[in-house]
Symmetry: none
DNA sequence: GATGAATGAGCATTCATTCAT
DNA sequence: CATGAATGAATGCTCATTCAT
């Protein structure tokens, strides 16, 4: 009977996402997560080693899944332009549908605590790699012009990240989809992308 | 004798910058700042209301100065392109010269604690406004093509921010100047900037 | 089918002895005993009221048995000297053969927790009584000279106890039998025992 | 001004002695010690690393002083008999005057927790050495007959310890002085001491 | 103003015990 | 009877803040 176990694990992770998003990692007590998850404080420790482990697991699970999802979706597209558009759309859609996770991601990504940061950075690095790979192939295929792949990725990711950051901070945010096309255009002209 | 007072105030702020950068806001004890500043714990509270006030003041002072500096420098340039180049250069140079501040900025900007975030966001908003103003004028002067000013600013700032983020995280970072021209090119083509 | 019940009861008691000896009463979790006994945590509570009850039962059972054993063996000897020698031999042999129990006895006998101490002291008091009885008869039979029976018992028991304490603490202990004769001699001359 | 500091240190140590004696190390909360010492919980940690450090310091300080006291007093006596009598008297008197310390000593000496036991055993070993030295010289000077010095010491210390143990446990204890002469006699005849 | 010893609220974590299965 | 997941009371320790000197 491992269903209930997985269920409770996910419930705690979900509660943690919400709570971390609302209060921030340090200002959020474990008991708050427990209450929101509908379990006793001690129960948390049957599923996670400690408070830090909750945050780390949260990123590993959720962000890992996000990157995986993008990687798979992207396979359906051939041109660099379509692939980047796909990433932009998926990224914005995912964050919009997981606002709390987006908030936590924005907030906790830059922890000074080395161990936390390390664990968080993992899935992100995968994502960076994925983006850089698309850009690189774009250059090779002569579909894009980017003098420095890393900087290209920084522009691409940084732009999306700044959008999410604004959206997350904003009290009454526009739907991200509304501005999707604008970003796409901007990014395409930045990389001088062909095929449109 | 208000000089010593100002001096001690700055000493504490400097110590706080270094300490927050090294340990993060929450994991950095006030006593650590005091020791680094060479004052007693209690002395801190003669200059700051509380721990939070240190962080807030730090941003107000330092970031405020940064934005002011940019605002003034920018006056010397006429074309949108030159103005943006000026911002890029100043931004990267400033962060490079104030690595600890850059780290703190990266880390603490996205605190969930509302009061902290509010205070931090202030100077940033000024900066955003400045960028957006330049972009807007660029569009008006027909020097740039940007469908949505806010998204334009997000691309501009997000790119720089992602660069700083990478630079701050990296153990052995490239000098930011080395990639300056690449960013400039990318941004210029994103905005279809004239005059080059 | 009361045999399995008794078996499991003894298994838990055995596991508790080993665990208490290794970690001490307070630092030993019930779950550790359960694991060592090969039963579930909850099962413990089918056989014992609570953790304290395990310790108390342990003493009642094991120490009670020990005192009983001595009481019976002693019946075979007539002279005070022979009886004391018998006690010494049995005591040292028993402890040597039940090192974990010896450790627990040494450690937990002096709990401050009144209820625990009370329960533990019970079997010990029996033992003290037995010794004092032998000494008293020795005095009456003119075989020994002891001004104060209680102090005599303290010397007798205290000596054996200090030996066990050293033996238990020592990493590479001498066999207790090796020093048996020395103690016997010392005790005999302390009590000016006749008949040797 | 190190007087107040030393005073508070001693106050906490005193409070700890009383509290440990009443409740036992594990069952005594740090807050109980603080309250009895008349300081805040946090203050304890300005003087001691942690709870364990309190216990360890307590033994180091108090027991160390005890052994030192005995060592010095003993110098005034020449014959083995007088020296042993001196130890017996000092031991019993000290314990009688420091009942709580005696209780703690009895109780916590045999902790299973290795670190605690280690720290506690230190001063005790000194005491054992002192006793063994006296016995050894007694044998050399032909004033005593002891086949095995270690066993001799075990008899000597064990007897005193058992007396203290009884006295500590007893609700209405005899004054230890009342039985002093009896122990002295017993020990003297055990070691066949001359000069009486 | 400056100090730093003292404070005590606050919190992560443990673990004996329970109880639904 | 047996299980072991779940509970939640209990507690050692930290650290921002105060205040007597």
């Amino acid at each position: 009977m491992s269903k209930p176990r997985e269920e409770k694990y996910q419930a705690i992770l979900h509660a943690a996402t919400e709570s971390f998003a609302e209060y921030g990692y340090f200002s959020c007590q474990v008991s708050k997560i427990a209450k929101l998850a509908g379990v006793a404080d001690g129960t948390i420790y049957l599923y996670f080693k400690n408070k830090e482990d909750i945050l780390v697991s949260l990123f590993r699970e959720r962000m890992g899944r996000f990157v995986e999802e993008i990687r798979q979706t992207i396979g359906r597209y051939k041109t660099t332009r379509d692939q980047l558009v796909c990433i932009i759309r998926t990224h914005l859609k995912f964050m919009q549908e997981n606002r709390s996770l987006a908030i936590v991601t924005q907030m906790e990504r830059r922890q000074s605590n080395v161990e936390i940061r390390e664990a968080i950075t993992g899935p992100l690095r995968d994502y960076f790699q994925l983006i850089e790979q698309v850009l690189e192939e774009g250059v090779e295929k002569n579909e894009a012009v980017i003098a420095d792949i890393k900087v290209g990725r920084q522009l691409f990711f940084g732009t999306l990240d700044a959008m999410i950051s604004d959206w997350v901070t904003s009290e009454k945010p526009r739907f991200l989809e509304e501005v999707e096309d604008v970003v796409i255009d901007l990014v395409c002209s930045a990389f001088k992308l062909k095929g449109n």
